[in-house]
Symmetry: C2
Subunit: 239 residues, 2 copies
Amino acid sequence: MATKNIKSGQAKFGEEDVLRQIEQAVLDHRLVPGTKLKEVQLANLFGVKRGLIRKVLTRLAHSRLVDQTPNRGATVAKPSVKEGQDLFATRRIIESAILETLIGHAEEKHVQQLGRMLDREQKAYLCGDTERALGLSVDFHRELARMAGNSVLEEYLNDIIRRTPLVILTHLGGDEHNRCRNQEHEAIVDAIARRDVKTAKKVMHQHLLHIEGKIKHKPEKPPADLAELLRPHSVGQSA
Amino acid sequence: MATKNIKSGQAKFGEEDVLRQIEQAVLDHRLVPGTKLKEVQLANLFGVKRGLIRKVLTRLAHSRLVDQTPNRGATVAKPSVKEGQDLFATRRIIESAILETLIGHAEEKHVQQLGRMLDREQKAYLCGDTERALGLSVDFHRELARMAGNSVLEEYLNDIIRRTPLVILTHLGGDEHNRCRNQEHEAIVDAIARRDVKTAKKVMHQHLLHIEGKIKHKPEKPPADLAELLRPHSVGQSA
DNA sequence: TGATAAAATATTGTTAACAATTTTGTTATC
DNA sequence: GATAACAAAATTGTTAACAATATTTTATCA
């Protein structure tokens, strides 16, 4: 196992940094469900003390990104089919409420901002930078939540977004169908511009169903090298 | 300050126990927003090590029940007016979705179970045991969520329920108007029995507005003795 | 070979001691 | 008395050493 020291002694990482790195790795599908997360290994990887890692793992467990078993450590969570379904169902509810709230007080500048995001996303996609496109696609949903202005709804959507990749990887297999369709994002922005709540919701609903419909049990995936997976990665590519 | 040793050396408390004790104290309005939570004090109170308390406080901070400032410790959270409004708005959305989901597959036994809970709540109220009535009233909402069968929705409702008392105490003042009206609970169960989603939602909406409408800034509250507040209390009175 | 038991190793969990910081209290000066 | 500077105490934050548990390896025997 050459999983050690590859990234040791990097720049100073704080608790928040380590947390975000791991969250981002999950979001990017680099960290797959079931992967064992050993404390010393991670500590070396990030060049921090074990206590720090310990706190981070606890927090990740609390937000259901990792499973923690007493005396047996932590692994990247493997949500059940049921949890996946509940997560998607709830996402439809939350995103629907976000649209309704947002359209209730949407201004021209909001629509313009969303338009710009769409362009960036489209551009990245055409450039073949699919990883960036994926990130921007997620940012689109986040931005809708932010614009809606309800901090609790935003919080919950972010929670769902963080957990969704694990459901997809556990039950939908590889990196095949997990991307938002730009076309549908456009239709949503159009509906918002027209203050057409009904259409916006309908499109969003359809949009989310495209992914959910494919959930089914899909066993096993080979584990991989942690040091490789958690390598350099800027967190939050919305810049 | 005789806040020490009053409860020291009690039965063995685990992390989960301490967490629940404090959560319950918040739910029961015994612990008011702004109260300082010192680590050694709590450790003595529950007869546990400081490290344990430390973990619990972190978890409570994560679920927004306490505010933690670096080097300056933890206090019971004081949610802003905005957060309170967002919380209530989200609660309407979530409870609405719960009703819709539940009515989608409600069976006779569900309605009967809810009826029994109503009776118990009513009884406690008539007996003058308002604290128990309050608890049962909360349990009613929890039970709706459980019956709906969506674990994520349930999780979010529980989160909202945990945070709500802090909003009420911070912005609504004393223990005046914070109780659910049994009458409205009954109307909700009736609507469920008739599978009348529209009415159920409407009543619930009204039900929640009764509280929210009264939010406004209401400054200060005198702090009190911790040892007193966190004394004996069975957690989960739904028995 | 295969199964079982024992030892060695690795991993997680806890704690007490220490360090860093903030808060409180005291004194001195005006 | 009020203010500032300093010292003392209290509180929070970190860590390294140890304990407990789980996992892997080795040894033994049928």
